[in-house]
Subunit: 463 residues, 3 copies
């Protein structure tokens, strides 16, 4: 097995990237005003504002932090000989992504030439990293670390632009990020996977692309932590009653998706038994599917129903769609991100369109225009609102808001696929080392691994 020796120069480049990041942070960031002991407001120097309340969002942030670094990292350890890469590359990719995301997302909110840093930027950076890790899930085991890092650079830049387009300019409602994070990450990754597709003769599941008994259990660490903290992910960006509704709806949707996953798994699996792949992934589809609507008045029963539908779609996807995509379109999807993130996110977007189009001020009261800011009537706009750029302008009707929600998912998928195709071409360029077919899904390619006898033994028996 060849070493990555030839790519040491790649890591010199990565060092350069890290140094450039330090310089960019030096010139273009600062702590946000409230965090500076002395700062200037309207030309007057004032002392640090007393922050009376403790950091209200910090527990939410830490829950999301666990999802990104433990959740995604361990979920990907399901491959029997790719656990070092799953946990290790997850950490590396995310550590680069969060630095770069602070810069890229910050471009759109600069104040006086500086990106003001506060806890909000860290939450946003973690969420951006999620998109990259979802794409990594589609490619798992079929790229070099260097390819993943290059993808991170491109994907974060495109992600930040699309997020700004959807949330700030189009003013769509997407508190759980189903549109901007899950759909984006999944279809970006699948587009890259399409470009990196194997030759026809190699177009089958690799010999190492299977789990072992212990790797399936460590993967459950990831699954369960993602499951537990998903309500925090979906509710981190809202407050008060909206936040509590987001928590309740996500909790119920996940519960519904989980029960459904087990039922479907027994129904469709070969031996009428539970399949770990379904349990590890489809149980989480409820969190994605409720993402864009979890703060709306979808009623508790609506939340469970959405989860149940997501569970059905996701298990069917793993059982029938993923193999078909591989054999027909030669698109590999190692973790099945289309079934966990892609399709449930489309579902969420469609539901958000429906719920938006029937939203009335009779039901929502004053919170209508805080949930859907572009529905603010033109007559009530403040000075500040006037200066904001909103595509299509304020004063949207409910039906129009619904249409914008659908436009948002369409645009996001198109941007993600275009971005993924371009990024894939870069990753496939001759300057980048590609993995050989027999190097797929093997830690040994880029990790020093302990020598153990049983490896050879179990390998030969896989499948």
């Amino acid at each position: 097995m060849s070493s990555l020796g030839s790519s040491v120069c790649g890591y010199v480049l990565l060092l350069l990237v890290q140094i450039v990041l330090i310089i960019v942070f030096g010139f273009f960031t600062n702590y946000s005003k409230e965090l500076l002991p002395i700062n200037t407001i309207n030309g007057t120097t004032v002392e640090e504002m007393e922050e009376e309340t403790p950091l209200a969002k910090y527990p939410h942030f830490q829950d999301i932090h666990v999802m990104i670094f433990i959740g995604f990292g361990f979920l990907m350890t399901f491959l029997k000989r790719y656990g070092f890469s799953a946990t290790g590359l997850n950490l590396l990719v995310a550590a680069l992504a969060i630095q770069w995301a602070i810069v890229m997302r910050g471009c759109y909110v600069m104040e006086g030439g500086k990106i003001p840093l506060s806890l909000d930027n860290l939450i946003g950076a973690d969420i951006a990293a999620a998109a990259v890790l979802i794409s990594m899930g589609a490619l798992l085991g079929r790229t070099t670390p260097m390819q993943l890092l290059v993808m991170t650079i491109f994907e974060i830049a495109i992600f930040a632009a699309n997020e700004f387009l959807q949330v700030d300019l189009m003013r769509i409602a997407d508190v759980g990020g189903s549109i901007t994070v899950h759909a984006f990450g999944a279809y970006f990754g699948l587009a890259v996977s399409f470009v990196l597709r194997p030759n026809k003769e190699n177009c089958k599941t690799g010999p190492m692309e299977c789990s072992s008994y212990s790797s399936d259990i460590t993967a459950m660490i990831g699954t369960v932590f993602l499951w537990i903290f998903w309500p925090s992910f979906n509710s981190a960006l809202v407050d008060g009653a909206e936040q509590e509704r987001a928590i309740i709806n996500t909790y119920l949707s996940l519960a519904g998706a989980t029960v459904t996953t087990y039922i479907m798994s027994v129904m469709v699996s070969h031996e009428k038994k539970f399949d770990m792949v379904h349990v590890q992934n489809s149980t989480l589809a409820g969190g994605v599917a409720v993402g864009s609507i979890c703060n709306l008045l979808i009623h508790p029963f609506g939340a469970i129903l959405v989860g149940v539908i997501a569970g059905v779609i996701s298990v069917l996807g793993y059982r029938f769609l993923t193999p078909a995509m591989l054999s027909k379109l030669r698109i590999s999807d190692t973790c099945g991100v289309n079934n966990l993130h892609g399709m449930p996110a489309l579902l969420s977007a469609v539901f958000s369109g429906i719920y938006a189009s029937v939203a009335t001020s009779e039901a929502y009261g004053n919170s209508l225009t805080s949930i859907f800011p572009a529905m603010k009537p033109n007559t009530t706009l403040t000075e500040e609102d006037m200066h904001e750029m909103v595509i299509g302008g304020y004063g949207r009707s409910a039906a129009m808001q619904g249409a914008y929600q659908l436009l948002a998912i369409l645009l996001t998928v198109v941007i993600a696929i275009m971005g993924g195709l371009c990024t894939g071409l870069v990753l496939k360029s001759p300057t980048m080392r590609q993995l050989e077919q027999d190097e797929h899904h093997k830690d040994d390619v880029c990790w020093e691994t302990p020598v153990e006898l049983e490896t050879t033994v179990t390998t030969s028996l896989c499948q």
Copy 2:
């Protein structure tokens, strides 16, 4: 090994249960008033109340959520070939239990025909799920998933009724749920285990009922997370000074129980070494034993002492009582829930009786009647109090409150055992598939498992 094929119809029934749950949620639940943008108070329509404070209990909720889904799930992975079931069935059973618990517990607090949902219901549902998972621990590896799900339906219903009886009608103090959760769950599970007891000739530890080196380590993930977040479990339902005392007392009790567990383990184990079973379980007994009294003025030294006693009892239970129960009464207790939950909970209840009977308003001041509401003197009752039903009425003396605490544990154990016996009879009915003796403690019975050589090898050597 036979598949579960015959029970596909069981999963069709489960699907029906999930659909019924959706309908029940549709008709009988709604977000609680504070979470609705527009609601009606005394006939006047008002806007959403501003919720100024962030969700104060949310971090506590998430800690408990980790205990239920990671803690219980991974603690049960200690069996060498039952890790898929431990983590997977834990997730399935809990996902059903929380939905059902919201309904069953909600029956007693309906407002206008609707159960008002807020974060409190989720906390309560998670705690109810804990009781079922404790019972599952007693039965681990000796039931089909379908039997567990049927048990969940029965147990949650009985749990909710008993909880209402003890906390609302009898007004006993049990903030950590030692009486209503731990004692209930343990003796319910043991009663089911008694009904499902094997024939005399099979009454021994099964060939797969042992741990492997790696399964003992993944079990420690569960143990340590339970250990860490137990102070949150015990303090989630109280506030202010009571909450902080509950945290401190639980922390100290766990520390005392832990040191004691190691000492006792060396003392009683065969080779004078530490035994992983003790470390995985008895270290947690301190959290159970302090549960009913953790908010009282038990003094820090009292907290440690309770933990030390619990550690001693629990290790002795594992060493002597569990084998005796199996050989004498043919009651299997796979996880030893009697030693971790049952006996320490009895201890906690007895202590709660003692502490209640010596509680004076000299020591507790105004907080006396908030901790023991039924001790409110008849002269100070408000209009609202008059409408509440309290068994035995208000104006209890300290001694009477102590007696009620003891009555509560007695009633709880009786209800749990009766409920468990009836549930066990249902699980043993001919319509339900039973596991054969040689299917015990094996994932392969209901999971698609990877084929690996070493399985056969290690199996043959176990014990």
Copy 3:
């Protein structure tokens, strides 16, 4: 392999220690005043003060709690046959340490002969336990449990005295504990390791001192949880803007250290691949290196830069320094605590000296004297300040504060080494059972372990 049978008397002694602790808690502790329902202020009996705000620091506490019990415990599971000890002894040592630390740290803050207990004491006790667990990392696999427990008793006492000296008397700034915890713990442990050094002929890496594929993955559970919650560790003792700066700086420093670790690992490792030892440890060096300065105005770019430097130093330490220390000085350092805790802490202390010496009230405003209390001008001292003992008195200049920061790390290292040498002599005394060379890094010495065939097989192949 001999059992620990002879040391049963050791565990009788431990039981005695636990009983003594109960008695000490009985006589010398109580809940702090705010937690007592009725208490006396200036001779007047008053009711419990209403605590309006929820426990603001509780989420921070629980994050640290996860670091101590999951983080340290699982990080140390990297040895292939020492996972029971890693997780189990971590729990035992920490459970003793926290009880003892409450007493020892409390000596310096007694009120009326009692140590007032509140959540703050638990946070402080957890942090003190971290120092012991760091020392344990240096010795991992080369001591009996009893030796670790004796070390705990000595180390906590010396730790508490040194912490009081540096923080209360010298008034140095060290919010993340790099000086008082990381440097102290590392050099204490290395000094003990020096005393327990092997004979010349045995001075090499032991046959069991290596990882297995699965043990490297469970170790990542520890690494990633430490990584995730490090911002909570560094920010737990400050509030408001300082706290948020501490979080941001630690987050950025860790990200920088992580990317750098991977780069350096490829550069220096034998096969130009990633080395799990580096990934498990050096990624965390950024958290240590920013510890003493994370609340200062180091600018985001400063935070990343510190992390990058720490990553470089730490990986080089693992690659070159640790083997050299073993071969030249015969100092074993199983977990490489010098590279993860020692050197990055020295770096942090030096930076804290530099930043302190350039701190001006122009930049810091009023927060200058809350961050560096001894810089309070003599003219502005309150009555209360007058009664506080501060070494060198108030009115320090920035340069003097910088010098005190450097003095603090010097004193801490000297005290740690002296304390470690003395403790090591106790551990080496003939009354204490020592491990034989062939008992090193083996769980079987003090744990009942499952019998498994593959053990023998893999052992013989290790490196």
